[in-house]
Symmetry: D2
Subunit: 449 residues, 4 copies
């Protein structure tokens, strides 16, 4: 997954983008980069690791300009190497162009092969490079037209920011998989993956970039265009609500925290149990656990303490570290758990191994009964639209029934939300979500891995 | 404040100490170090920053030995420079000795002047260096005797670990200001500031190092001695319960999380208010807010979301960063707060500036009423025993009444626990706490700064 | 300028390439890189700075494989940024391919524009990227054929190494501008810019890669092909003799040291003067000064001492540093110079500013007369074939007569070799040199800058 | 060995010291540091490695002040760790004091034991720390008196610089082992190990600090005192002439380059041989080889080319690297050597291993005869006064006759200067040199290692 942020018309564009990336750090901790335009040239700096570690004052001084885009990345496609960090800058017939991409293309391999057959060369393993090649073709046409044309060639999820020497372009795919919002602060325009980035530097939320919309900012102001492609229905990623987005963000027009509290309440209503306390797996399970406890009338407690000097489980790429990481990251509060019947709320079970370790940890801390409640349906299918999930083989719910999973993790009971319960809230007219990771109903053709 | 950890009799002593420092990272993020002994020599590595950044695999390879001590530091005395990082290693008549110190001496300046008048030289600004000079004197006596003798010269708080080539010594001052516990894992002994460090590597809690106790581990096993000094009463730091220790730790024989929930309950009982929701200032206010909400029968919500990619407010040394840090660190969830009467629970108000910013932030997010509840009495006096507090002048409660403070921070109401309410729990026989930061009753003579 | 080295069929291919780069460090100090192939994939590491600083043991461990190519670079085209470091690795229809290029293409801008017009994108400002695009075209043909075809499209100087997962290819342009030699050590083949790289790891010199030759090493051994293009005459860079190559190397079949001693002797024969001592501008002027002194029967002395902890003047990119650098780099030995008539031998005068500073320095050290002797003709024209020379405007000899230059630098006399004297040695049959920097007779069309 | 430099009364004291360290880099490449005084406090920065790598612009900004001292170090006593880098800064009864020390104390171990017995603690393994303890004693006396008193306690070699907040003190031991000179530039005073440091920033040489002299610079100007100790004779290190100092420096009132040319001439006169060419082992053997060739009437040639991207053999601490280093560092020019009778001039043979490799290298390059000539007597005894020599056991000349050494290195002949020939030049009245490394006549009592 990735976070993107762009700023147009500010004397400290790079600085605002830097802050935006700070706010979006939860969307990717592998690498980050900023590209700026000052009307004459594009400058860029990328590095591996956290935003706070990559950008020093010295680096920021080398990024002047009134427009800038930034990217924070977790590897969904491509290896973990610097040449895969974004923004990705290319030089082509019309000069320089930078791109920052959140999402994943489902026909990238096919397009890449076609491009390579036509003589194109690639220097990274990112599918975003495919975009660049498509845009560089037919340079006699306008950039806007070439972007629109490229968007018709690609399939999959893309919230994009482009940066020219003196222009910024935002694009969201017609399905609207990934969020992308517009804010304003004085005369400065801001585009970001989530509203929390707007909050950080005091920009006010204007509106979302609509699915299929192309917005161009340049000296003449902001202009909007629509991609000609109209899919039968949209496909907003429901997993942004369940796990990915920051709870203080509004995503797809709803507050993420409230959504998660709602999932917890729904869980308590439909999947109740006799228990003494409700605890979350921190931090992602906290709002749902609060909702569960409130609905069930049970005490909410922080029975597992998280060591915040370590990164997010889900987002760490190396299995070997992750295993040890559970102990490094979570420690039970024995006095809270001892001889208690405990409801444990988490947002998902992926491979089941982390969950199993947590159950064992709670058991050893004295919990009498452990009732696992997941604030989403079982994750059975890989995501091809930008979220880093393992292959089907590794997803425990793909091959195990709920009972079998319960046994594997060692809990006394395990309940998920059903797919119906997932949509307990009122959808807006014409609104539709992608829930392919639960149902396998992929909105576009994919090769199941 | 600092965290210390020691390991005796393990093939991977340095590795266990490293993990212990990881668990104690919340006690100090400025620098960290490890010293090891292999029976023949002492090796050492220190660096600035977080444990995870300082110790690479390469560094760990250079720290062989069966005993090791480690230290993670936040500057309480001395500047922020590498030569102030601990463990501090000295060479003296009897060979090499390393020290790791948690606490603060109240007569260090006086002792230092006396030592300097006698020709001693100092290479750091740490008061721990005073200890070393005192111990190096009269080398013809045994190390144990010299440590005991040095402890009689110094005043103030000290939980200490010493490391020789083949021995480890733990000392806790007669007042028992700072915690220090002993754990065991097989034949390996572990000493650490908090029990959460024992948990991380699976050691079982044995007992606390008693106030005034000196424990020596060497080839002949573990032996305990008592310092001859017997103060009239002990002085366990109550602020470890309120703020400093990790909630999953047991400190002074009580679970910290439970203590904080208790403070919240006490607050709700004695300082109730009409409200719609209870929210904590995360992370430190969470358990007390849970207690408050439970006792008051109000919904608990995470109305402020913390960005964990930034460090702790309290612990950041530069005022200029801290101001900006509130925005960087906390973001309100508008949908939760809008038009609500909100009880906000935090553990302390130091200068009042951060609190003021939080109240403003909540106000702008739509909160109708803001009722600040602090799970401790007003902090009116500086700590001289190891906690980094500003001078009296900077402490808002030293010069402002509760009403004035309430006005300054802009809340609708502000209530603290009284000093009596702070001790709602049953003290053990002979148990006494240091609450000087609230009362000014310093257990030892100090020069008020 | 750049140095390249490749190794085929060695268990420690990367290590040998590393040593080769060490030996070729004088050909470029801006960046260096190594790519390896292990039969299955290509790995790569590049960095800014010196070989010794870029490649640690950790890095080397990540470069397994039986074939490898390396590159050490000084910017001749393109900015000073990491993305311009080589080897340059691309992914195209046929897999991965790495390239290391010494030289400069004279039609790169034109080709680049054509490629961009056809939709190609570029990610660096190196003209070597043009090669990659040309090779990626028409992927249905064999790699050898595409390389040969690409070589017919480009103009200018190129000594190239390509690396596939299990193959290495060496190419030298038909003019033979840059040297490229083949060595052998047991069953291992080595290709390098200069023979000094072969010496370092004990390989024996086999033969040069001939101008226009394409050599492929793969499992079936080594095969040679010739490019169809046959220029009327070759164009070996005479400046390799004068300045660039290491004196212990054999270049174009002659020992560089001997050539330089010969230049010095020729200078003494044709441009004698009355003097007391002969001193070189170290290090480049040493062999010619030895030759001059021997021929003239004058004492040779090291009247200027070089501080070797600083880099080469010619090769440092920043004017501001270079100016100070003369003082940092050279210090006169007063006792040697005082009241002496001094012949100073250097290999070239570029802008004249460094030379002027040296003359001033010698004057202040007490030299009575200063007779500057340059072991080459005046540098009047920029090089477009890989040597970093400034524009015509900056070349003092382009706008100043020898007398004017002499006056500018403040010497008592100044003499150069004539163009005839430059070729005092016997050329082999059909041998021809590029001396365009002296004569402006560029072997290929160029746009004078 | 070490280089030291101090500046008093300059707005950019740290910058001048930095340049001075650059010029003295040949005296030590292991670590370097600068301490500055601004009238109120002392600041300091030290690091491992080369001056150019340690001091960035950022670091220099943090070193304001009008007086400064610097140190560049090669380990003679103590391990290779940062805490052994100098300047060494201490806090004692009278405030802060920094020290930079070139030389080695012969009674450091004894003094250290005495100090430790008195309760002193040590944090480094440097004997310079002993000085600091001695000076800190009896703080009621003036700093000058305490320095003088400390100098009477220590034995051995010391050229010292002290820095207070607003004062600089230079001290040279009564024997005068190590050089120390005073320069002036406007109102700024400069003190440095060698005159080449004065040259670099345009200071003019004033005079040497005399053996036994203590010079204090403060607001009242410069004042000179003499240590009461008067040894029977001085002991200037003759090895500074032979190898250590930079040839462009004047040391002990003589130009080093001229001295080395003189050694070469003496060698040729007293130890002639039939030969075709004379070559140096670069760089240290160059002046002597020039002298030999001139005297013998033989052609001087650079038959071995040095790769300057590697450090000095003598100064590299790790044996394992050094062995490989000969190949990395030196490459023969075959065309010069082939079928020739070669005189090879070097300054010393230490273990004999490097020399043996060089002879083998020349042999393989085709030399018909190899006549080794050393511009000094055989090195038979370790130095205890600051030069890093191995133990007696490792010195080949300590256990092998010249014939045996010749056989070991594989030369056709080997000749050294005799001890008499070493002093071919006129000594000044009362001048005496330390030649203990050749004769074993140590001017002070030492424990032979």
């Amino acid at each position: 997954m990735c976070g993107i942020v762009g700023v147009y018309n500010s004397e400290e564009a790079a600085n605002l983008v830097y802050l935006g990336l700070y706010a979006l750090q939860h969307r990717g901790q592998e690498s980050a980069g900023i590209a700026t335009g000052d009307g004459k040239q594009i400058r860029q700096f990328r590095g591996m690791g956290l935003v706070a570690d990559i950008f020093s004052e010295d680096v920021m001084k080398k990024l002047p300009g009134h427009c800038a885009i930034g990217h924070t990345r977790y590897a969904t496609s491509g290896e973990t190497v610097l040449c895969n960090a974004q923004p990705f800058v290319m030089n082509y017939a019309k000069g320089w162009l930078a791109i920052a991409h959140n999402g994943n293309l489902t026909n990238a391999t096919k397009l890449r092969k076609e491009l390579e057959a036509g003589g194109s060369i690639f220097q990274s393993s990112m599918d975003s490079e495919v975009f660049m090649h498509l845009i560089a073709n037919e340079p006699e046409r306008s950039l806007k037209d070439r972007i629109i044309s490229a968007c018709q060639d690609v399939e999959g999820a893309y919230s994009l920011l482009f940066l020219g020497e003196d222009l910024m372009i935002a694009v969201r795919d017609p399905y609207g998989w990934r969020p992308l919002v517009i804010g304003k602060k004085g005369d400065t325009y801001v585009v970001a993956s989530e509203t929390c980035a707007l909050d950080l530097f005091g920009a006010t939320f204007e509106r979302a970039v609509e699915p299929g919309e192309v917005i161009i900012w340049n000296k003449e102001g902001m202009k909007s265009y629509m991609l000609p492609t109209k899919p039968a229905r949209r496909a907003q990623c429901v997993f942004e609500y369940i796990y990915f987005a920051r709870p203080d963000s509004d995503v797809f027009g709803r507050n993420v925290y409230q959504m998660r509290v709602g999932y917890g309440k729904e869980l308590a209503k439909k999947h109740p149990t006799k228990a003494d306390i409700v605890i979350p797996v921190p931090d992602s399970g906290v709002p749902a656990a609060i909702g569960y406890a409130a609905e069930a009338g049970l005490p909410f407690q922080m029975g597992l303490i998280r060591n915040h000097y370590v990164g997010r489980t889900f987002i760490e790429p190396q299995q070997s570290i992750r295993n040890f990481g559970v102990k490094l990251k979570l420690n039970p509060v024995r006095e809270i758990l001892k001889d208690k019947r405990v409801v444990v709320v988490d947002d998902s079970i992926v491979r089941g191994t982390t969950c199993k370790k947590i159950v064992g940890m709670l058991r050893r801390a004295g919990a009498k009964e452990i009732h696992m409640r997941i604030s989403a349906p079982p994750t059975k299918w890989p995501c091809y639209y930008g979220i880093d999930t393992p292959t089907r083989e590794e997803l425990i719910a793909a091959s195990h029934s709920i009972e079998e999973t319960c046994k594997f993790i060692g809990a006394d009971s395990l309940e998920y939300l059903t797919e119906d319960e997932l949509f307990w809230f009122d959808k807006k007219p014409g609104e539709w979500f992608c829930d392919a990771c639960f149902t396998g109903n992929y909105p576009t053709p994919v090769d199941i891995k």
